[in-house]
Amino acid sequence: MNSVILQIASKYLRILFLMFAIIALLRGHNQPGGGFIGGLLAALYIVFNTLAFTSKQIKDRLKVSPEAYMGVGLLCVLLSFLPSVLSGAPLMQGVWVSYSISDFEVIKLGTPLLFDLGVFIAVMGVTLMFLFTLSTHK
């Protein structure tokens, strides 16, 4: 499709979409959201782009290939198991670190976030893979 409106819109929607996806990822542990949803949202943005441009243009503009996303995602997932093993805990047990920014607010970071990030990246890669193979296949 070659719609000027969509093309211009996609430029401005980019930040919105990606912020949305990342927020979904970060809030996932306490509120609805998470890596799977975030990854799908990010992929959705690219799908939206392919509607505006041709998928070949998008593929060229995307600096990282879907395969690489999938690999990096799985790697993140596996890396998130590393801290628990190194600290001698059973494999896949969450390891948490907390920072207090003020008296009331505490930021807790844990390996599940890394795990979720891996899921995010992998799911995005998988969706893009589907999209690109289906749309470029002749």
Binding site: H29, L41, V126
Partner: protein
């Protein structure tokens, strides 16, 4: 011990990093490493002689009995010394032998890995771990036999050896698991402790048979001997190392290893002894009419392996002792003979022994080495082989079962061995010289180094045999768990055994005189043998294999027909049946019928879902179908939302949106909507689909009715925040409680994506 194995492994991989310039010296370097390891293990000998065992253990999965366990005891000592020492000689030999071939790095890589896995095999005291090394030796044997991989014969032989030894390996694995289930552990010490338990178990006979299947295939016993003949396609250093001195002895080693556990019973004696006896006789008998020098030595190797098996079958202290002595005897002379065979092949470019006339006329050193090795094989004093043969006669003489028959067979075998040795020796020395070998002899002079060392050993140990007692005694005490004292002597005094030896020699010389130069007799004999042994094991094996492949191809075509609609039908029908069965066996047909009225807007959504799914089924336009399906999906997500499954609802909406896009992309490629299936098929598919849907509905209703106690949901909700620091239970389950599941799911997704990618691109290539 683990460190030694790791050293070998690292060294093997480091071979590929060695620059071309210095790679000439790598085999010598590896040989020195082998010698070093030999020395290292030798330094443990005093400890072992004092009855100690050195073991190390690395726990891996102790609950499953899977540990890395290594033990250096008397038995493994003997094997380790042989493996490293022969390994040292073989690498020195290979340095010259292989220099003219391509891909030597690969060769040394395999050979070094083989050394390592052989060491691992003999040092393992956990049987699962030992099995892994056992299989590794088979695989490396496969790789080494097929080293000249442009040669079809070599490839075939390699496959054959892999199949035969692999089959035996599988049997062995079953046996190990069976014993493991009786004992409850895979550790050697536990097995020895509970030997009585195993011997009295009802499964003893099947276990023994399975173990023996492993042993007999590995050690090339009749009727599995044929793979060893094919294995002669390998480069000669491999034949000398794997197929005479070490790998084929792994079966014998296993017999020795399992002797305290399974050995000595009536079944053990009655099965092993005859098989070994047949093998030793047939091997020696068929050796005499061969004309290919490597085949001659292969047949005599088979015969020697038969002798070893018989000795373990007889199961007296004397026979085991004889077996260990003969193990050394055979390793020394046969490795030497194979190396010499390679030397002759290099000199003349031929493997046919009749063309070697007078090859050693002007080569005194070569002649002496060959003579020592052959006389040792013939068991003529003062060679080490003589002592081995005397002990074997003595053991058979005093065997509790069938001793006279065994003795007669043994004498026959040795008569044949004497004749073969003399035939080979005289064919090499006499006859007119057909080649001018001056240059070649000089070029390949270094090939005589290793056989020379072995010849010195064969002769030296013949004169001073007692030096070896110190090594054999601990091995014997492993088997008979007590003090063992051995006195090896060259001269036993005048007795029956000596008389028998003399008789053997005379008969052997007579047989040799009869056959030497009498070409017609040999030819006739060959023809007779072909008739007599009309079963060509080699050919029937390949026939069996090809028919097996045909059957499995048919089978595969039947199951994997390639029609996705029938795959789906099969999957759905079978899962419906299974689900129905499961529904029935959990509390009969009782389901939850406790329905309650829901608000009108939910009913409205349900109506929309039903209506749109009906449209999607009956619509004749692709785009319309997709849209209707999307409406169904969105409706379902509304229901999720109402019953407060927010995460599910979000996911459903996004996935549904993506699906529409994807479907549209696919739809562009498809032809316009056409009617593919007939009315009858449609009805059939409809019935299947409806049934499946009904069953799923029943499942959902049933699930409400069957309360699995205690419910895991409560636990998850309780611990979600306290232990996993998350308020969103769904997400906590995904990333923490059930992280393994998620890992699996993500991996499956990735694989599916790769599958789509390859499937669609394969089609592109075909066009």
């Amino acid at each position: 011990m683990i460190l030694v194995l790791i050293l070998y492994l690292l060294l093997a991989f480091a071979l590929f990093l060695i620059p071309k310039k210095v790679s000439k010296y790598t085999p010598v370097f590896i040989a020195l490493v082998q010698l070093l390891v030999f020395g290292l293990f030798l330094s443990f000998l005093p400890d072992i002689q004092n009855g100690k065992t050195i073991s190390s253990l690395v726990e891996w999965m102790p609950r499953l009995g899977l540990n890395l366990e290594f033990t250096l005891d008397g038995l493994s000592m003997v094997s380790v010394l042989l493996i490293t020492f022969i390994g040292f000689l073989v690498f020195i030999y290979a340095n010259t032998y292989m220099s003219s071939y391509q891909g030597t790095t690969r060769f040394y890589f395999y050979l070094l890995l083989f050394s390592a896995s052989m060491l691992g095999l003999v040092l393992s005291s956990n049987f699962i771990q030992m099995f892994i090394f056992w299989e590794l030796t088979s695989i490396l044997s496969f790789l080494l036999i097929s080293f000249f991989n442009e040669n079809e014969q070599a490839r075939k032989a390699a496959f054959q050896s892999l199949f035969v030894t692999g089959l035996g390996g599988l049997c062995l694995l079953v046996a190990i698991i069976l014993i493991g289930s009786i004992v409850g552990s895979y550790s050697l010490t536990d097995w020895i402790d509970k030997a009585e338990l195993i011997k009295n178990d009802g499964k003893y006979l099947p276990i023994l048979l399975l173990v023996l299947a492993g042993v007999f295939t590995k050690s090339a016993q009749f009727p599995f001997h044929f793979w060893l003949l094919g294995a002669m396609q390998a480069p000669t250093p491999v034949s000398a190392y794997l197929h005479s001195a070490t790998m084929v002895k792994a079966g014998i080693f296993l017999l020795a290893r399992l002797y305290p556990i399974l050995g000595g019973t009536q079944e053990w004696i009655n099965i092993i002894t005859p098989v070994g006896a047949i093998t030793m006789l047939i091997g020696a008998y068929l050796a005499i009419t061969q004309i290919d020098i490597k085949q001659i030595f292969a047949y005599t190797t088979i015969s020697a392996l038969g002798i070893l098996v018989v000795l373990f079958g007889i199961s007296t202290e004397l026979s085991i002792k004889a077996a260990f002595v003969f193990l050394f005897v055979h390793a020394f002379y046969k490795a030497s003979l194979f190396m010499l065979a390679g030397y002759f092949v290099k000199l003349t470019g031929s493997r046919i022994i009749n063309s070697y006339g007078g090859i050693l006329r002007k080569n005194l050193l070569g002649l002496i080495i060959v003579a020592v090795a052959l006389l040792s094989m013939a068991g003529i004093p003062p060679m080490f082989g003589f002592i081995g043969k005397e002990l074997i006669y003595e053991a058979k003489f005093e065997a509790p079962w069938l001793s006279s028959l065994l003795l007669i067979l043994g004498i026959l075998t040795n008569v044949l061995m004497v004749a073969v040795s003399l035939l080979v020796l005289f064919k090499l020395y006499l006859g007119e010289a057909k080649f001018d070998l001056g240059v070649a002899t000089k070029k390949y002079k270094l090939l005589l180094v290793s056989p020379g060392i072995l010849a010195v050993l064969s002769l030296g140990l013949g004169l001073f045999p007692d030096t070896l007692s110190g090594i054999i005694e601990p091995a014997l005490s492993y088997i008979y768990s007590g003090e063992a004292v051995i006195k090896l002597k060259l001269w036993h005094g005048f007795n029956t055994i000596l008389l028998l030896s003399a008789l053997t020699m005379l008969l052997g010389i007579f047989l040799f005189a009869l056959t030497y130069k009498n070409k017609r007799l040999i030819k006739g004999w060959q023809r007779m043998n072909v008739r007599l042994f009309s079963i060509n094991f080699n050919r029937s094996f390949s026939k069996g294999l090809s028919s097996f492949i045909k059957i499995s191809a048919k089978n595969t075509h039947f199951i994997q027909h390639g029609y996705i609609r029938y795959y789906l039908t099969t999957i759905i029908v079978f899962s419906s049946l299974l689900l129905l069965f499961q529904l029935y066996i959990t509390r009969g047909w009782e389901i939850n019928t406790n329905f309650s009225l829901q608000p009108y807007y939910i009913s409205g959504v349900v109506c929309i879902i039903t209506f749109s799914s009906l449209i999607s089924v009956f619509s004749k336009d692709g785009l319309f179908t997709i849209t209707a399906m999307a409406v169904t999906g969105y409706g379902i997500s509304l229901i999720y939302l109402y019953y407060s499954a927010v995460d599910l609802a979000i996911t459903q909406i996004i996935v549904e949106t993506l699906m529409v896009v994807m479907f549209v992309l696919v739809l562009r490629k498809l032809p316009r909507f056409i009617v593919v299936s007939s009315r009858a098929t449609k009805i059939r598919d409809g019935i299947i689909a409806l049934t499946f849907g009904l069953i799923m509905a029943m499942l959902a209703l049933k699930a409400l009715n069957v309360d699995i106690h205690p419910s895991i949901a409560d636990f998850l909700v309780e611990n979600s925040y306290t232990k996993a620091h998350g308020k969103n239970v769904v997400n906590v389950i995904l990333v923490d409680f059930r992280a393994l599941d998620t890992l699996g799911e993500v991996t499956v997704l990735v694989i599916a994506a790769l599958g789509v990618f390859t499937l669609l691109n394969v089609k592109k290539v075909r066009k």
